[in-house]
């Protein structure tokens, strides 16, 4: 049986739920709705239901612990090709090994999961610094990013704590999704249309120029080292950095 889900983490957990319902020995794979199908295998559309996802998540958390669940979630967000099968195996082994899952984390099947989780975590951490908000005329702080991994869910909490009194939004231009904080609630929404910008506040242009000036002057000329800079701040992030884009 091949299970087709909607590409979200809850959807994936629902597929796992159904696979367990049907008996995991019949499972041939889990994939997104778009993936090419097998010629002779039977397929099943998985309906995403939050209570089912919740049950799988709770069970895995209770059996294997907080860290194992965290690694699972982060590895999923890494969006590596073939993630469903690797993670399904991880979950199955987890339910079998329970807390001893951790003892096997250096084995190849678990190591991949840890590596993916690490990548997502590292990118989220880096982007906490590299997000650049612009102030729009109505006071909203707006930022755009295009991360390699789906790090938006991991970043939202940080800005919620830090900028609780502001309203802000971060738009993931690659996945057409945004988190929005309206001073009370955090909202994760699909934004299919590319956002049209929008008018900036009166001070915005001046502040950008001021930051660019600062950026230029804080470097020590005698130590110029573009390779070192790129290794910390890869070019793929430059597009959305105020200091690397001059108009």
């Amino acid at each position: 049986m091949i299970y087709r889900y909607d590409g979200t983490f809850p959807g994936f957990l629902c597929a796992v739920y159904e696979a367990y319902q049907d008996g995991t020995s019949h499972t041939e794979g889990i994939c997104t709705a778009m993936a090419p199908g097998g010629l002779f295998s039977s397929e099943k559309e998985v309906r995403t239901a939050s209570d089912r996802a919740e049950r799988v998540a709770q069970a895995f958390f209770a059996d294997c612990g907080r860290q194992a669940f965290r690694q699972l979630f982060r590895a999923f967000l890494a969006e590596e090709p073939g993630r469903e099968d690797v993670l399904f195996r991880y979950i199955r082994n987890g339910f079998r090994l329970k807390k001893a899952l951790y003892a096997h984390h250096m084995e190849a099947w678990a190591w991949t999961v840890w590596q993916w989780a690490g990548k997502t975590g590292a990118e989220a951490e880096k982007l906490l610094g590299l997000v650049r908000f612009s102030e729009l005329s109505e006071g909203l702080l707006f930022a755009e990013i295009a991360p390699t991994h789906d790090v938006l869910p991991l970043m939202a909490g940080h800005f919620q704590r830090r900028l609780a009194g502001e309203s802000w939004a971060i738009y993931d231009a690659r996945r057409h999704r945004a988190v929005y904080w309206d001073r009370k609630e955090l909202l994760l929404a699909e934004v299919p249309e590319r956002l049209q910008i929008l008018s900036y506040s009166g001070e915005e242009a001046a502040m950008r120029r001021l930051w660019q000036t600062y950026y230029d002057h804080i470097a020590v000329q005698e130590r110029t080292n573009p390779v070192l800079r790129r290794s910390y701040m890869p070019k793929k992030y430059w597009r959305y950095l105020t200091e690397m884009n001059r108009d």
Binding site: A103, H104, M106, W111, E125, L128, G129, L130, V131, R132, F133, S134, E135, L141, A143, H158, R161, R162, L163, A164, G165, E166, E203, M207, R209, L210, W211, T213, Y214, Y215, D216, H217, I218, A219, V220, Q221, E222, R223, T224, N225, P226, V227, L228, R229, S231, Y232, M233, L241, T242, E243
Partner: protein, 413 residues
């Protein structure tokens, strides 16, 4: 002068202070306020020199009553002078912080009128940020030598980190290059902060309501290459600062020859390699349980330009190696070249579930190319034992090349 021009000037004047970190504080957001500290610190950008930008690092003014020969802001230097008002600093800090350009403010200043007068201005800035703007982000400020301890005491309650720069590693070079400053004048605010930190820790143990004093501790900076000290002297000083003054960090700044003076060395390029070696050794002191004497014994008072300090130490102590990865204690794992804190920790972790194989050893992230000469895996040795070829193996091709290029420019002309 326009704000932008002054900011440019005062960033230029501040950039030779290399301290960049925004770590070590757990300050939370105030009710109705903005900003908090991230314990590990966050880098927000990297400048063209590859150094991270975490805090808005500026001087309040680059005017100064002192005339220290190595300093770009010395009184006799013919350069434009500027000043930012307290309100301007607060405004720019808040505007940058909201846009997530920075993690907070690192404010230093040339000394105008008197140390007390200058420190009062710093204090006013910190107070405005914390009290009026309810700013919870990171603040790092300079403790200016010669300031009344009462002012420092108050400043310490608003900021996360304070630093006093030693700049010159010995009394004699201080006399030569900064005759208006004395070593005791520099050390006394450092001691004051250390003592207050200890007291504050005690007070806070009794009651959490006591406000924290400089929660992220104090740091200092040493200029490398402006005066004649050996690496050994500098490293011993560093060790003393960590042990006796309980500093969080010692920063090293390769002397950039922007100034000319009769007591200053004439060099074509800043001694970056030497600075790098000092940082490597600094890490070995703080995280790898090495002592300064082990890294630089009297017989070799300077670092080897080709080999990092840890590899040098291991080469001098061949009798201790190879060690078995499955048996060696943590302290010994840390001393193996090619194994860092993370890989040593992983080895310990993996070992709890049985002996490591070659496969699982590779997954600890160690640098096999280097480590293999110093360890055995399940009793088997994979390295080359002969000292001469070992040295060539450890000096990486890339490092060797970089070194040859560098030595063409570096050093005294």
């Amino acid at each position: 002068m326009e704000l932008r021009d002054r900011l440019a000037l005062l960033a230029d004047a501040a950039k030779y202070d290399v301290s960049c970190s925004s770590s070590g504080s757990r300050r939370g957001r105030q009710a109705g306020g903005i900003g908090n500290a991230h314990y590990a610190g966050i880098c927000h950008s990297w400048a063209a020199d590859g150094r991270c930008i975490s805090l808005l690092k500026i001087l309040m003014t680059n005017s100064c009553i002192y005339d220290c020969e190595y300093c770009v802001n010395r009184r006799s230097h013919d350069t434009p002078r500027a000043m930012l008002s307290v309100e301007e600093i607060v405004h720019v800090t808040m505007a940058f912080y909201r846009r997530n350009y920075i993690e907070g403010l690192f404010l230093s200043s040339g000394i105008i009128r008197s140390p007390d007068y200058t420190s009062e201005l710093l204090l006013r800035t910190a107070r405005l940020l914390r009290e009026r703007e309810k700013f919870g982000g990171y603040i790092h400020m300079k403790a200016i030598p010669g300031t009344d301890p009462k002012i420092l005491e108050e400043l310490g309650r608003y900021v996360d980190r304070m630093s006093v720069n030693m700049e010159l590693p010995s009394e004699s070079s201080l006399k030569l290059l900064a005759p208006q400053k004395s070593r005791s004048a520099i050390l006394s605010p450092m001691k004051f902060i250390r003592d207050r930190l200890q007291e504050n820790r005690e007070e806070r143990r009794r009651s959490r309501k006591v406000p924290a004093f400089v929660p992220a501790g104090q740091t200092t900076q040493l200029i490398v290459g402006a005066s004649g000290e050996s690496d050994r002297q500098i490293l011993h000083l560093t060790e003393a600062l960590y042990q006796r003054a309980s500093l969080k960090r010692v920063y090293y700044s390769a002397y950039v020859p922007v100034m000319q003076g009769k007591h200053l060395p004439v060099i074509a390029r800043p001694p970056l390699l030497r600075e790098n070696r000092l940082y490597q050794a600094d890490w070995l002191l703080r995280f790898y349980q090495f002592t300064a004497d082990e890294l630089l014994p009297p017989s070799s008072p300077d670092f080897d330009p080709e080999l990092d300090p840890k590899a040098c130490w291991a080469m001098r102590h061949r009798e201790l190696f190879p060690v078995e990865v499955n048996r060696a204690p943590y302290e010994m794992l840390l001393r193996i070249p090619g194994i860092g804190r993370r890989s040593a920790w992983r080895i310990l972790n993996f070992r709890r579930y049985g002996d490591l194989s070659m496969d699982s050893l590779q997954r600890t992230g160690l640098v096999w190319k280097r480590a293999r000469h110093f360890l055995t895996v399940r009793g088997r040795y994979y390295g080359s034992g002969d000292t001469l070829s070992l040295r060539t193996e450890l000096v990486s091709e890339k490092a060797g090349q970089a070194l040859r290029e560098m030595s063409l420019f570096e050093g005294q002309v």
